[in-house]
C-alpha cells in the first residue's frame, strides 16, 4: 500500500477514455413533499472513484440508495452501463454492490453461511472454498464458523466487505466504509480498493474522512441541501500538525 497521493485521475479527453459506468442526469428525489436531491448530474467512468462529502442530512445516503436501486429514480435519468436502471432493476443490481452503514448480516448464521446466502441470492457460481478464501482474506478465518451475532462492528464490516471479493461488481457503492475499521483495516481496505479501481472498477463512496480517502485516486464532490457540486481536486495531504 503506497501512501503517496495519486490525486489526478487520467485526463478526461484522452483518446482511450474508459467507458462510462454511471450516468446521472437531472436526478431529483423527494420524500413526500420534502426535496432531498435536486438536479444531480454525475458521470463516472471505469477506474474512477467519486467521494461524496457533506453534512448529515445533505442527501449522501439518499444518493447512494438511489444508485443502489433501493430508491427508484422518478425524475431524471440513471444509466448503469448504458442500461436504464428504472426499467432494468435486476440487471443493474447484478452489476453493483452496496455496503451501507448496516452490514445486512444475519446474526444466527456464521460468516460462511452468510456468504452462502449472498452467493445464492446473487446467483454466483462459486464453491464454498472460495467463500472461505474470501473470509481468510478479510482476516476472519478463525471466526469463520461462529455465529455473526457475537462479532464486533469492525468484524462485521470486514465480512460485509468480503462480499466485494466474491461478486466483482462493476460498480461499488460504499457508505462510510472506514467507520468501525482499525488502522490495519483501513490500509487493507484501501489496498483492495486501489486494486479494484486499477482493474477497471468504479466506486462511489460517502465519507466524513478525507484523510483516509486521500490514499485513493478520487474526485471529491460536495453535497449540500441536495445539490451536488465538484470540489477542487484534493490538495497534497495536509502538513502534519506541528508538535506543540
Amino acid at each position: 500500500m503506497t501512501h503517496t497521493p495519486r490525486a489526478t485521475p487520467p485526463p478526461a479527453d484522452h483518446d482511450a477514455t474508459p467507458p462510462v459506468v454511471i450516468q446521472l442526469e437531472g436526478v431529483h428525489h423527494r420524500f413526500g413533499r420534502h426535496r432531498v436531491l435536486q438536479g444531480i448530474d454525475l458521470t463516472l467512468r471505469q477506474g474512477e472513484c467519486v467521494a461524496l462529502y457533506g453534512a448529515n442530512g445533505s442527501g449522501k445516503s439518499t444518493l447512494l440508495a438511489l444508485l443502489a436501486t433501493l430508491l427508484t429514480v422518478r425524475q431524471g435519468q440513471y444509466r448503469l452501463d448504458g442500461l436504464d436502471v428504472t426499467q432494468h432493476g435486476n440487471e443493474a443490481r447484478d452489476k453493483l454492490l452496496f455496503v451501507g452503514h448496516q452490514t445486512h448480516l444475519y446474526g444466527h448464521l456464521t460468516p460462511v453461511e452468510n456468504l452462502l446466502f449472498f452467493r445464492d441470492l446473487r446467483g454466483l457460481d462459486l464453491p464454498e472454498s472460495r467463500l472461505r478464501q474470501a473470509i481468510d482474506t478479510v482476516g476472519l478465518a478463525k471466526a469463520a464458523d461462529k455465529p455473526v451475532q457475537w462479532f464486533s462492528a469492525g468484524m462485521r464490516k470486514r465480512l460485509a466487505l468480503a462480499r466485494m471479493l466474491l461478486a466483482h461488481p462493476r460498480l461499488l457503492l460504499l457508505d462510510e466504509p472506514y467507520s468501525a475499521l482499525d488502522i490495519q483495516g483501513v490500509h487493507w481496505l484501501n489496498a483492495i480498493l486501489t486494486d479494484y479501481l486499477r482493474a477497471g472498477g468504479a466506486l462511489v463512496m460517502a465519507s466524513h474522512d478525507p484523510e483516509r480517502v486521500a490514499a485513493l485516486p478520487h474526485r471529491p464532490h460536495h453535497l449540500a441541501r441536495g445539490v451536488l457540486s465538484p470540489m477542487p481536486l484534493p490538495q497534497p495531504p495536509l502538513p502534519e500538525p506541528t508538535p506543540c
Binding site: 420524500f31 413526500g32 413533499r33 420534502h34 442530512g57 422518478r74 441541501r225
Partner: protein, 232 residues
C-alpha cells in the same frame, strides 16, 4: 383540489334537495302487503349498501391510480373514500339489523350479504388503521393502496364462499326471505331510485369534504415538519 372547493356547495345543495324529495316519497309510499311499515327502512338500507360497494370500487380505482401514477390526489381520494365507505357500510349493517328484527325475528343472520358487509366494515377499518400506524406517510399510502386492491379481489370470493356455505350447509330459509325483501317494484320504485341518486350525491359530497380536509391536514403536517427540521 380547487375544483372540489367549487363543486362542494353545489353538491351539498343538490344532495339536500334530492334527499328531501326522496323522503317525501317514502313518507307517502304505500305499505308493503307483507312487510308493512318496515319496508321503509329499505329505502335507507338499499341505497347505503349500494354506496358502500361503490365507495369500495372508487377506493380500488383510486388506489390503482395511486400505485400507477403516484399521484397524491389519488391517494387523498382513496383515504377519503375509505372513511365514507366505512360510514355507509355501518349504516347498511345497522339498518339491515333494524329491518331484520321485525322481518326475520332476529337482529342478525349469517346470510351472505350481511356477512360480506361485516367483512367489508372490518376491511375499511383495517385500511384506516394500517394507514395510521405507519410513521412514514408514503409507506402507509402504498401499503393501504395494495391492501385495498387485494380486498377488491377477495370480497367476491368471500361473498360467494358465504353463499355456498349457506346453501350447501343449511336449508336456505333465512337467505331466501332475505333476498325476497330486497325485490321492490311498482309504486315503491320511484322513491328508491330518487334516494339512490341522493345517496350517490351525498357520497360524493362527503368524499369532497373529507378529501379537502385530508389535504389541508397534510399541508399542515408538511409545514410542521419543515418547521421542525429547518435545515433539511
Amino acid at each position: 383540489m380547487k375544483i372540489l372547493k367549487k363543486i362542494q356547495t353545489l353538491l351539498g345543495v343538490a344532495t339536500l334537495v334530492l334527499l328531501a324529495v326522496g323522503l317525501w316519497f317514502v313518507y307517502n309510499a304505500p305499505e308493503d302487503f307483507q312487510q308493512g311499515g318496515a319496508v321503509r327502512i329499505l329505502y335507507i338500507h338499499v341505497p347505503s349498501a349500494k354506496m358502500a360497494l361503490l365507495s369500495y370500487l372508487f377506493l380500488t380505482v383510486a388506489s390503482a391510480l395511486y400505485l400507477w401514477k403516484r399521484s397524491e390526489t389519488a391517494d387523498i381520494l382513496a383515504e377519503a373514500a375509505t372513511s365514507v365507505g366505512a360510514a355507509f357500510t355501518a349504516i347498511t349493517l345497522a339498518s339491515g339489523s333494524i329491518w331484520g328484527k321485525p322481518m326475520w325475528g332476529t337482529w342478525w343472520a349469517w346470510d351472505a350479504r350481511l356477512t360480506s358487509m361485516l367483512v367489508l366494515l372490518i376491511l375499511f377499518k383495517g385500511l384506516m388503521v394500517l394507514r395510521n400506524s405507519m410513521d412514514d406517510p408514503v409507506k402507509g399510502a402504498r401499503a393501504t393502496a395494495i391492501l385495498a386492491i387485494i380486498g377488491a379481489v377477495d370480497l367476491p370470493i368471500i361473498h360467494y364462499s358465504v353463499v355456498w356455505w349457506r346453501t350447501l350447509h343449511q336449508p336456505p330459509s333465512m337467505a331466501a326471505s332475505g333476498n325476497a325483501g330486497v325485490h321492490i317494484s311498482g309504486p315503491l320504485l320511484p322513491p328508491l331510485l330518487i334516494l339512490s341518486g341522493a345517496f350517490m350525491l351525498m357520497g360524493l359530497y362527503m368524499v369532497t369534504v373529507k378529501a379537502r380536509q385530508i389535504e389541508a391536514r397534510r399541508r399542515l403536517d408538511a409545514l410542521e415538519s419543515a418547521r421542525m427540521h429547518p435545515d433539511e
